[in-house]
Symmetry: C2
């Protein structure tokens, strides 16, 4: 049996998971490769050689130099699982120079510096695979680049950060609020000590950047993704949304329109009848709409050793199958040949048209609704759904909840400023975008 030798850079959760798969499931993988090829971890780079490793990695050869692994002539494929965008990038560049296929799970690196890396890789005819960078175990990159290749993709909308989805799910329980749920998530290991990266949507923006690029055939443009986190979502909003027939999910949305592309990550009210509204806890899911296939959805665990390593090893198998394929015949890194990418104009968030959920507190209830509706009317905003309930402090005061029609965000902002200037509206207006996902 021919041996393909893997150099692992990094041996944390995903690196360990990769070794576990190649320990436990190698026979099945060999059967998939016609019984003619086997995979072997040739060398592993770790940061600290003195740390103890689990028993079943005894036979692995460790070094603390990632570059040594890349340059090891016994290594055929380089698998980068270190994270970070400095050494990881240098290692991948060196692998490309040496003509070694690369697998990486590094979403930040691909989203922020993928354009250059893929250009270099194309010049050297070296494939870079990165299924594990988006939505962990869900083969969403493969679905977008290959499974739906007959389609012009119209939009993609995903729950692509498990931490955020766990928090929003837990906030549905009576009495839960954001900061308490975040603490629980941290205690359970679902959220980092510094949760910013997940909670403020940066991680989701990395993944959305990648999905948008391969969905539409546009360059990676992380810096143009509008990003809003979930820390402003309250349990009250989740309850009101539910009453109106919606769930609040933190979505990454990429869509195509005649004016350009929209790339955004923000909390979103979606109808509870849409399947993705029922995706709870740490699970991920991505909806993809194509011009011929219609709406499809891909669901699974978005993180963890087993799921993420499942994607890494699937990439390795793909690369092994493509070793003798003419480079031009391979699936291009971004799904479209680099010289086929469209110069994409990304629409500024102010120019995006969406429906909105609004919640605010009014003093002296009587007459306020007339003022509110006349301000909204001035900006051509219609109220599609309205819910009003008395304040539990004072029956004359009320909480008003409404869902508008789709309006340009700049108009909506102007209307909100006008509303907030009313004496009878107390405090800030809570506002969350609404998307029917149809």
């Amino acid at each position: 049996m021919k041996q393909v030798r893997i150099g692992l850079l990094g041996f944390g959760t995903v690196g360990g998971g990769t070794a576990t798969i190649l320990n436990q499931t190698l026979k099945t993988i060999e059967r998939r490769l016609n019984g003619q090829i086997t995979l072997k971890i040739e060398q592993v780079a770790v940061r600290d050689l003195s740390l103890s490793r689990e028993a079943d990695v005894d036979k692995l050869s460790f070094t603390d130099s990632a570059m040594e692994v890349v340059e090891n002539p016994q290594v055929d494929i380089v698998v980068e699982l270190m994270g970070g965008t400095t050494i990881a990038k240098q290692c991948i560049e060196r692998a490309i120079e040496l003509g070694k296929p690369v697998v990486t799970a590094n979403k930040a690196l691909i989203a922020e510096q993928g354009n250059q890396l893929f250009k270099l890789a194309e010049q050297k005819a070296v494939p870079i695979a990165y299924e594990a960078a988006v939505a962990g175990g869900i083969p969403i990159i493969k679905a977008l680049r290959e499974g739906l290749s007959a389609n012009q993709i119209e939009w993609v909308a995903g729950i692509i950060n498990g931490t955020g989805n766990y928090i929003l799910t837990e906030m549905k329980k009576p009495g839960a609020d954001f900061s308490e749920v975040l603490k629980t998530a941290q205690a359970l290991g679902y959220a980092e000590a510094d949760p910013t990266f997940d909670v403020e949507g940066i991680d989701a923006a990395h993944k959305l950047t990648i999905m948008a690029s391969i969905a539409f055939g546009i360059p990676l443009q992380f810096e143009k993704v509008y990003t809003e986190g979930i820390s402003q979502v309250t349990a009250e909003d989740i309850q009101f949304a539910k009453q109106l027939g919606y769930e609040i999910k933190h979505l990454g949305i990429a869509s195509r329109s005649d004016n350009g592309y929209s790339l955004r990550v923000h909390p979103t009210l979606i109808p509870d009848s849409v399947l993705i509204a029922q995706v709870n806890g740490v699970m991920n899911a991505v909806m993809v709409s194509g011009n011929h296939v219609g709406s499809t959805l891909y669901y699974g665990p978005g993180a963890g050793a087993g799921p993420t390593a499942s994607a890494v090893v699937a990439d390795i198998v793909d690369l092994v199958r493509g070793l003798h394929q003419p480079p031009d015949d391979r699936v291009p890194a971004l799904g479209f040949g680099l010289d086929q990418l469209e110069t994409a104009s990304v629409i500024d968030i102010d120019a995006i048209t969406t429906a909105f959920y609004l919640r605010f507190f009014v003093k002296d209830n009587a007459g306020v609704l007339a003022k509110v509706t006349s301000i909204l009317a001035r900006f051509n905003i219609n109220i599609e759904l309205l819910h009003q309930e008395p304040s539990n402090q004072n029956p004359d005061d009320a909480t008003l909840v409404m869902i508008t029609n789709a309006v340009p965000e700049s108009d909506f902002n102007a209307a909100v400023r006008a509303l907030e200037s009313l004496d009878s509206i107390d405090g800030k207006i809570a506002r969350i975008r609404v998307d029917a996902l149809d």
Copy 2:
């Protein structure tokens, strides 16, 4: 630009959809192929040349001889969308002899005669692609064969017949019953005049056969699939299931155990908290559980011109990319090399262990429950959930609904026979398998 020429056999719904995609979305597809390859429909075989076709197919060249298309030296790839297992098979065999890659959407042909076809194709190093044969637009074959290749697949469970799912969904509405809903489905074109193929599970069994084979790496064994339709499911059962926290879905289930493989299609109670329980109407969805990735789900339209042709054209793109790949490096037709398939022992349905839902009507309520539970106890069957409600005819009579623990089907059958012999149980006992899908 290099041209790859397609011979279409059949120009019904899917054939027409394929032409539509190549009319409307060819530019996007060319961009995916690095701008170096284009696709062209060279010739189309139809049954009746005198039938009028839509305007935008004017430029297509038609013939009424499928074999002429296969043998046309201008045709590079043969796309079989005729259906049937006789001429379709002959055409595919001839294409293989001529070394022409084949795409087919023919689930019956693959499920019933795929073993021979794939053997012939392997001898001639000709690829056969069949993504459209299972779950229409959902790229489930690709997910199973490639996306999850790092896993030993443990089980697959799918809603893989849209007609059946539409009927079960409509039966949730008050007052609906099977025969009326079936009539509506027929009027809407969701069900055939003779609905047997869909309603009795034969279509689902074809698709399950294919999924089981590529999930586990076992030969196609359509004849061993246990198949039970939905015509015995009543609206009452659907309501009772709901009360107990379940939905009734017509599932194709393939699972692996130490004793062998289980292949079955039957109505199934599944907890309503499992995402696939929320898949309604004509939509399809497949859950796949792998030993490393855990549970994943793939959802989308399972039929129709656009979705099915989306899968056909994606297969064509894949074949084009693989034209210069060494045959041994390609993804094997069944996901595993033919000489790597396991001799699979398929467990007889009597030996399968599952939980059951039971519903029956008892006369003279008092004392019956004791008799029922003692009979169940004799067969080591525990009642996990019990619901009893008075008959609307006679308060002494009652409907009993229960869910048991998992028991061997033969024991369960014996218990049901014993129960049915009780004087106080009136009529037949309704029984539906229960699966937690965990």
